[in-house]
Amino acid sequence: MKPRKIRTLLVANRGEIALRVMRTCREMGIRTVAVYSDADAWAPHVQVADEAHRLGPPPAKESYLRGDLILEAAKKSGADAVHPGYGFLSENAEFGRMCAKAGVAFVGPRAESIDAIGNKVHARQLAKKAGVPTVPGLDRAIGPKDDAGAIAAGIGFPVLIKAAAGGGGRGMRVVREAKDVERNVREAGNEAAGAFGDGSVFLERYVERPRHIEIQVFGDSAGNVVHLNERECSIQRRHQKLIEEGPSPVVDAALRAEMGRTAIRLAKAVGYVSAGTLEFLLDAGGKFYFLEMNTRLQVEHPVTEMITGTDLVKAQILVAEGAKLPWTQDDLAPRGHAIEARITAEDPFANFAPGGGTILGLDAPSGPHTRWDCGVEAGGTISMFYDSMIAKLICWGRDRAEAIERLRRALSELVIVGVPTLVPFHLHLLADPRFRAGNFHTGFVENEFSMKGIDRPHLDEAAAIVAALEYRRRRQETPEAGPGPAAGPSPWKSQALREGLRG
C-alpha cells in the first residue's frame, strides 16, 4: 500500500461504534461521512457526521450490508477510506476487495488475511502450522460421507460442534454421547446455513469450565506486529459477552508474555495488518488453546485502550495510511485494570428478553476514570432491526477491586427510561463474591449465577413513589387544585423549560 493521508472517511456502521470512530476522525482532522438506514435518519451517528447518506430501508440486508450502496456513498462524498466498525461488513473479505477496486482504503486487515483466518477451519489449520496450540479436533469441515459419530468418539466426549463461518454461538452445540452426534451435526449445519449462508461445521473437544481469554494484536504493512495484552471475556450468556476486563485475574506476566508471543506468531503467519483479536480458551490447568481470530476492532477494545493508554482507531487509520505502528512492544505494558459493562436493552428479570422502544430519559455516568461510549440519546429509539446495544460503560482502576467498585458507582449513576437494561444484572454480578474473587468461567452466568430471588427488591418503595407521582399529577390536572402544572416552588424554571422545549 502506498502511503497516503486519509482526508474523508466513511463509517459503514451505526450506533456507538460509528460515533467512536468519528470521534477519533475529528481528533485527526478527518472529515466524516455517515451512512444510514431509514430507521436511523436522525440517529446520533448521523447528527455528528460532517455529511450523511441514506442507504435504504431499515433491514440490514437492504442498508448496512449493501456494500455497493456504501461505496456509492463513498464516491459521492469523496471519501478515501471506509471504516467498517464491528459486525455488518467488518469481516467481509469481498467488501474489502470491492473497496480496493473502488480505490477506497479499507480500514482493517487485507482481504487475504480475512480469507485466510476468518474461517475457523482454516484458522485451525494455520494455527497448527504455526505451532499454536488448538483444542483437539477435526481440522476440516465434516463432509456428507463422514461418520461424524466415529470422529467424535476419536476426539473424545464431550465434543463441540461449531460452524466454520460466523460466530455468536449460532450453529454451536455440545454433545456428550455418541448417539446424539449425527442429529446435532445435521441441525447445527442447518442453523449455520440459515445464519451465515455456509452450512459447514466441524468438531472439537469441548473444554469444560474454560475461560475466554483473548489477545489484542496489531500489525502494520511493514510486517511489524505487537500485542496489547489480554482481555478476559468469560462473563457471557449464549456466547454473547456481557462483561469484559483486562488484565485477566488469572493471567500472570509469564502467561501474558507467552500468549502474546503466540498471538504475534499467528498474526505474522497471515501478514496481519490493523487491529485483530485472537481468542483462546484457557483451561483450569493454565493451558491455552487457540480458538479463532476476529479480524476487526472488537466491541470491548476500550478495555485495552484504558490499560495501555492507546487509541486503537487512530492506530488503525495511521496504519491504513501506510504508517508504521505508533508503538513498540515496550510501550504497551498494561497499567491498572479496566472493566467494561455492556448496556443492552435486555431485561435480566425476563430471561434477558430484548425490549425495544423509545429512550425517554437518559442520564449518563461520568467522573474519574470513567468512559461512556453511547450510541443513542433521549428521544431516540432502540430498533428491532439491529442489536440491542445502547452503550458501553468502561471504568479503570489501579487494581481490579478499584475498577469493579468504580464500575458499580458509575452504574448507580446511570438512568435509562423507556427500555429495560442489563444494569440490574451488572450490579448483581459485580457484587457476587465468586466474580469478585475472579473465580468464574464461560458457563458461569448460564449455569452458576442466577437472577432468581432478587426479583425487583424495591417493589413496594417503587409503588409508593408511583402513588405520589400519580397523586401529584391528578392534583395538577384537576382545575380546582391550583394554578396548573406550573405550580410548585419554582414556576419560572418550569416555564422556561417548557418554552425551551416548544420551539
Binding site: G168, A345, D347, F349, A353, P354, G355, G356, G357, L360, G361, L362, D363, A378, M384, Y386, D387, L411, S412, E413, L414, V415, I416, V417, G418, V419, P420, T421, V423, P424, H426, L427, R456, P457, H458, L459, D460, E461, A462, A463, A464, I465, V466, A467, A468, L469, E470, Y471, R472, R473, R474, R475, P485, G488, P489, S490, K493, S494, L497, R498
Partner: protein, 167 residues
Amino acid sequence: MKLTVRHGDDVFTVEVAESDGGYTVSNGGRTWHVRLDDRRGAIRTAVTDNGRHRVGVARRGESWELVLDGISYEFTARDTRFEKLLALGAARSGAAGRAEIRAPIPGLITTVLRNPGDPVAEGEPVLVLAAMKLENEIRSPRAGKLVEVRAKAGAAVEKGELLAVVE
C-alpha cells in the same frame, strides 16, 4: 385520595395525601414519606424514608414506567373508584375460558408453527418471533384449541399485537 397501584400481579391499595412538602403513602400497615423534585424531566429525584433515589419516570397512557436502581418497573395507578368499575366490566365479559397470545416485544414473525383448529398444550410453542438478532418461541399460556391465528410469517408486529387466541 385512594389509589390502586399494580405491578404484574402485585396490587397496592394505598391512601395518598400531601404532607410537609411531600406525600404520605400508606398501605394499611406500612407508611412511606415521599418527596419529589419539581422538575418536569424524565429523570428526577425521589426521597423516601429509605434514602435518596435518582429515578426514571415516564407515563404512557394508563401506565407509569419507574426506573429505580437500574430496575424498570411498569405500574398502572388508578383511582380505586375507577378500578371497581373496571372489575365490574371484566366480570360481565365472561371471557374466562379464552386466552389471547400477544406479542411481548415488537419483532418479525419468522415461523407460524400451528394452524387454526390445532389443539395446543400449555407451554407449547405456537410461533417464532425474531427480534434483535434472537429468535423467541411464543408459547401457549394454557391447553386448549387455537381458535384464531392472526400472525403471518414475515409480518412485523408491534408490542401487544394480538397473534393468536386459545380457547
